[in-house]
Symmetry: C2
């Protein structure tokens, strides 16, 4: 299966595109910019969703559902929001089709024109805050901690599967609070939830930080983000959490009466991660043999493949496999026993390797004689022979080991590809020749940020929350800098 598969060295971008399609994760659809998420890809997304949903609920959030459509005028209610969002949107103008008089199909019925156009939500702050106005009167109604799993549409011109698509799936949290501090704490808490999910479940190390003013979400006072480093040295913004101040409360007139009887505007946050995480997952771990999945997110954690020529050999293997499969499943490990007679073992080996199944077991007549199983791990491609009565424990241990190993490798890659520079020449050289994260002093102005971007294509990914906070001078302008910030070229 990996035959004819582009290597990362040859063309990282092509490697990614081929991998996504060949590993059955997603494909482009007939609708420009929209993807089809295939069952195997969707199963990974479901695992992500389940864990994130659990984490959201554990931190007190509830799910709800708001309309797909937003009246056009709502987008203009929060001034900076409309600047950032209103432009590239899918616009619904009519609500009916009719038969084409020439008999060739259907046409839009010109008489069914909407009085006010509807926008397919690119994000839901406006429709949600217009609803919160009805839900919030008193301090008793706060905090309001709501999340929505939904599809959103942003009419992107250049699209790439998972990384940037016109329609994508995501969750968007929208919370309302009585005080500024509580809202900031919420935004920071959700950033930590995202970071924990990325690191513990995706095995993808992230830097937590804040965005510069020019990269903030449209309508936010502060945008927190997690940034991950891909294998090709480019950064991926993997999740954002916004402190929205009272901007949306003011735009939609959402006030509450405090315990003391005073009327106050409500404080807000919003936060989201999307199917873009799938792109991050793929580009963090996969190799030239295909997808590599951390066990915690693998739909199939163990594939078992029988080796046989005759039917009775298959029966003998199946007999041995049954209790192993049952014992693994009893430990919560998902197992696929692939005894299809439509494909050869070699084909199956390639298939599960390419699809990133963490552990593959193989068993044939000789193994039965010897009381052994062949165990292959996807991350290192190592194979070993293990006694049948030890294999369940062994595989259970591998689940933990592989998860840890992938994270360790990713951390190592990031460490090796994070460079601190002290001059602009050095900065340019590293961005050009090596790529990766570059830590450099920056004077905090949008002009410098823009100039550096023009000249090097690198942008400030974030102002890290942790790390060295020593002041210095900007590598570009020589003006004072509060601390080094993280630059990179980005997806």
């Amino acid at each position: 299966m990996a035959k004819g598969f582009t290597t990362r060295e040859q063309d990282y971008s092509k490697w990614y595109n081929e991998l996504v399609v060949k590993a059955d994760l997603a494909e482009t659809s007939d609708v420009r910019g929209c993807m089809v998420i295939k069952p195997y890809g969707f199963a990974i997304w479901e695992k992500m969703q389940a864990e994130l949903d659990r984490m959201f609920k554990a931190t007190g959030h509830q799910n709800a559902y708001f309309p797909l459509f937003i009246p056009k005028s709502y987008l203009s209610k929060e001034a900076s929001h409309v600047e950032g969002f209103a432009k590239e949107c899918a616009v619904v103008t009519h609500y009916r089709l009719k038969n084409d008089p020439d008999g060739s199909g259907v046409i839009v019925d010109p008489e069914a024109k909407l009085e006010e156009e509807l926008i397919v939500r690119p994000t839901s702050e406006t429709i949600i805050w217009s609803t919160y106005k009805k839900w919030i009167q008193s301090y008793r109604d706060l905090p309001l901690l709501i999340n929505q799993w939904a599809n959103v549409v942003r009419w992107e011109m250049r699209t790439r599967l998972f990384l940037r698509t016109a329609e994508f799936l995501w969750q968007e949290g929208h919370t309302a609070h009585a005080t500024e501090n509580e809202a900031i704490e919420e935004a920071e808490q959700m950033l930590r939830v995202y970071a924990e999910f990325a690191e513990n479940h995706m095995a993808m190390p992230v830097v937590q930080g804040t965005k510069t003013e020019s990269e903030r979400f449209a309508g936010a006072l502060e945008t927190y983000c997690i940034e991950a480093l891909m294998q090709d040295g480019k950064a991926l913004q993997a999740g954002t959490s916004h402190f929205l101040g009272q901007n949306f409360a003011k735009a939609f007139d959402v006030k509450y009466t405090s315990k003391e009887g005073k009327e106050e505007f409500v404080w807000a946050t919003s936060w989201g991660v999307s199917t873009r995480l799938m792109g991050g997952l793929i580009m963090t771990h996969s190799d030239d043999n295909g997808l590599v999945l951390p066990p915690k997110l693998a739909p199939i954690q163990v594939a078992i493949i029988p080796i046989y020529r005759q039917e009775d050999q298959l029966d003998a293997v199946t007999e041995k496999v049954k209790p192993i499969k049952a014992a693994l499943e009893a430990k919560g490990i998902s197992v696929k026993y692939d005894d299809r007679d439509t494909h050869k073992p070699g084909w199956k080996f390639n298939e599960y390797e390419f699809k990133g199944v963490p552990v593959r077991l193989a068993m044939g007549p000789r193994d039965i004689e010897n009381g052994t199983v062949e165990v292959a791990r996807r991350d290192t491609l190592e194979k070993e022979i293990v006694a049948i009565d030890k294999v369940v424990e062994h595989v259970a241990k591998l689940m933990v080991e592989i998860q840890e190993n992938l994270y360790k490798k990713a951390i190592q890659h990031r460490t090796e590809n994070t460079t601190e520079v002290s001059t602009y020449d050095e900065f340019k050289e590293v961005i050009k020749a090596k790529g990766g994260f570059v830590l450099a002093h920056w004077d905090g102005t949008a002009e410098t940020e823009e100039r550096i971007k023009q000249e090097t294509k690198a942008t400030v990914r974030c102002i890290p929350l942790e790390g060295d906070k020593t002041p210095g001078t900007c590598v570009f302008s020589g003006k004072p800098s509060k601390r080094k910030v993280l630059f990179a070229k980005a997806y």
Copy 2:
């Protein structure tokens, strides 16, 4: 809370509308015909989803995700499909907004007109079958058993929360098979899954049957359905499963090579249930005191309310409640201990009663003295005093009992409101005076069906799969009838 609440007797329709809003299930949004599903309503929907999803996976299905948009021309590819569906749709014609030159907001950019309009999916057969063409080549690719959880839009003119909304949430299964028989078996299997879910989880009895030709899904050769009877004597179509023959395979040219090397068109099914089930759930069990939920779908199964005046009394109650709550949760029962000091016990009693929480426990200083708890069940409104050390077992038993009792009551209601008639006068009289299901002979023609509908507003809900299959003569035309069919006025 139930104060000022309309009774079913007074106005069933108003009762329903008020209940949905006051029990925090859903509300209308600012977007015409679209609802907001509130957290409590959404939590019930999530429970439905989780169980249905489990059942779909147990029958071999996988989830995937297809685009929200469908190119206009796709709708015309299957001739009868377009007749049934293409008309009342949300049509996307533009992909960009721009600032209004007069500075007052945003307008649709006339230069960003799509070459071909996109329809927001009313159902996904066409976009999915255009994809299946790429996925299916050989018999090895079959059966293809896929489900999608999604939002869909049908521009309904008269909408009602959950029962008929412009946007709704649903699942749509779309399967492809090598043989006609296998496809029919699949459509019938999924009908059974729906019936089992409705009866065992929603405690809502359903009649399984097939639709008449005029009520079939646009593009189907056979539409199977489950029909439930609401408290007001009107029927609700709760789910449908369609055998689509080779119609979509032919429209989208989806062929497979059989084991024998022959090229054949693929056979198809599709099947779906939606947030409409929420309406069925509400109208099957609820009463003049508010919502009544079967334990299997109740987000909160047990509410515990402390009765106290002073802080130390609350502490004493909390001390006693803790192990009860823990023991119930250990049995998989969801418990809310509502010790908020912002509301009085009486308010809380009303709140949980109105929201249909199956069991409510109350405990105060006197209970502690006596070693007892007050246990109230929502379905019968009965209260009893139970010893603290017996309460966990007692409540666990109530979960089963209430689930069964609700189903039994619903069955009894349906039995009492199902009438067999042998003349058209009797038919009209029953439909007018009593309502409910009417079993009557029908000659099988669309003309008779239409005439009866015109005259009585009753339609053939289904031709039941089970029940008396004795032939007779049509109550309307006197012509031969193969068997009695099920009529009712319907939602």
